[in-house]
Symmetry: C2
């Protein structure tokens, strides 16, 4: 008898689409969104993964189930998968999906806040650590984050730091993170606090203003030299719609 | 007597701003735009660098002049410079600017169509080769492009290919380039053919539609698997304004 495959709590599978943010912005990819988070950020854009509102949609799937469904919906159009959450770093059993995807020649990106380590981080091609600034009302465990960044730097993995910014206190936090880890590619992203706006045409000018504000802040900032400043392209294209 | 420093024809110096496109999209940077081009693309967004309309603005500057002016306008807010044109690869004397910037700890990005080789390409941190698709009415010299790509791959430089796309014939050209150089990070960018639109508010919905069209094309395309699909963020923010 085969050993039982461990199941992964999956909230959404979709694509192909393009990655809307961060270090691989624009990359054609499929998305796997896992359920469950150790954080509860004030402005989380995927709160349905952890606040109970999405619990009916969670499916417990094996790595094989997930890969089969990605091929069923994406056909032969993709060679890249992005894993997001929730916090996928809560799930040791993701190792099985990571192994399976790599065996199929698929490149893997993953996003997590940097509150937990998993050994399968070594196998992620493009890892984004996104510690949360004060506006989230979460607090950063610097000891853990230091150790995760240290592990990744030591093995020369391709990874980045990304901070979502809403206000001046967040900018200050971003500058601290940037100076604490000066050798890590660094991204700031304008936040979206109009998560209930259902009209993309009304959302866009607001998001554009928020991005312009952040660009102007970073341009003038002597402590944010090596920064990349990016929006969330998917919200510009599709508003707050899920599954794109 | 010092040997005479060779002069570089400079069209624009500006910044700090953020890079609006390609492999280092979002990166805080200063811009140096050189004058002169061996191409005359039908839709060039910087035709003033080669069509005579900007000739009064061209300044012949030494590398030291350029660096001094970058510091005068950017102060201590930057550590990255982007060189664009025109085609900066026409200028062997750019070697002096590249050496000077590297000596100051400044990271350098450069964009060229891939029609000429310069030995100083080895010193560019982020080189974008942007061969031009059929809509440009230019034709690609594949022998030269093969040799440039080969040189860069051999020394494992960080570089990318970027194709600006206006129509289906351009998409086909992009797929050919992607398959010819499968190991090179690959970007497609939606083109802007409304270069005379002076109202950013009228330009934006058009650019968004063109980007959405390109995203949808690439999503469905089996030959464009590893692509990144990006807009020109600066045109979304500032329209067709120069110097940002």
């Amino acid at each position: 008898m085969e050993s039982a495959a461990r199941r992964i709590p999956v909230m959404e599978l979709f694509g192909p689409t393009v990655q809307g943010e961060g270090m691989v912005i624009g990359r054609k990819t499929m998305f796997v969104r896992t359920a469950g988070c150790d954080y509860s950020c004030a402005w989380c854009d995927s709160a349905f993964t952890w606040d109970g509102t999405g619990k009916e949609e969670i499916r417990l799937m094996t790595a094989r189930d997930i890969y089969a469904e990605l091929r069923a919906i994406g056909g032969d159009t993709f060679d890249h998968v992005t894993v997001s959450g929730g916090n996928p770093a809560l799930l040791p059993q993701l190792a099985e999906l990571v192994d399976l995807l790599r065996g199929q020649g698929v490149t893997i990106a993953l996003e997590t806040q940097g509150s937990r380590w998993q050994d399968w981080f070594w196998q992620i091609d493009e890892l984004t650590l996104s510690p949360k600034p004060p506006s989230s009302r979460m607090s950063t465990d610097w000891v853990i984050l230091d150790s995760i960044v240290g592990n990744l730097l030591e093995r020369k993995r391709r990874f980045s730091l990304k901070i979502v910014i809403f206000d001046d206190a967040d900018l200050l936090y971003a500058a601290e993170v940037h100076e604490r880890y000066p050798d890590v590619p660094f991204y700031v992203q304008s936040g979206n606090d109009r998560l209930r706006e259902t009209d993309p045409g009304r959302l866009l000018p607001y998001l554009l203003d928020r991005y312009r504000w952040l660009v102007e802040c970073v341009i003038a900032h002597e402590r944010l030299k090596r920064a990349h400043v990016l929006p969330q392209l998917h919200t510009w294209l599709w508003g707050n719609k899920k599954g794109v």
